[in-house]
Subunit: 86 residues, 2 copies
């Protein structure tokens, strides 16, 4: 399965109207429990990078942080006004 | 399907030995062809953000940029030495 399938399936689930969408996912798999837990810290910095290129309203962003066993996934979903780039 | 399934399935495919893995995905769905194509520009900036938290060797990164219809996906796969954080 390609990531395209995953990305498109999510759209169907949320039954959104046609809008430009941007999804940023950071997934980490640890072998040991060593090292700092930096995924939560990344979200603001990633948004700052995205904002250099497109206008992102705060209420257009949903952020989710999930853990499952040794995997941790940070997911940012952003809805953009049609084709609005900087 | 959750993203965890996608993330884990990729590991099996590549049959890697146990190492810490980090995957960054930026997916964009456009409604129109308007606006600049900024996904390729993001890769260096995203890596710079990650490098604030973990040491990433250049040869530990594979970058892929794919298009399929109105979707565009930038994927960074990073292999890290066991639990090596900054």
């Amino acid at each position: 399965m390609s990531f395209f399938d995953y990305f498109r399936a999510q759209k169907k689930k949320s039954a959104q109207v046609a809008k430009e969408r941007l999804q940023v996912i950071v997934a980490r798999e640890r072998v040991t429990r060593n090292g700092p837990d930096y995924l939560p810290l990344l979200q603001e910095e990633l948004l700052a990078v995205i904002r250099k290129y497109v206008e992102v309203d705060n209420d257009a962003v949903t952020i989710q942080l999930d853990r499952e066993g040794d995997c941790e996934v940070l997911e940012l979903n952003i809805t953009l006004p049609d084709g609005r780039g900087r």
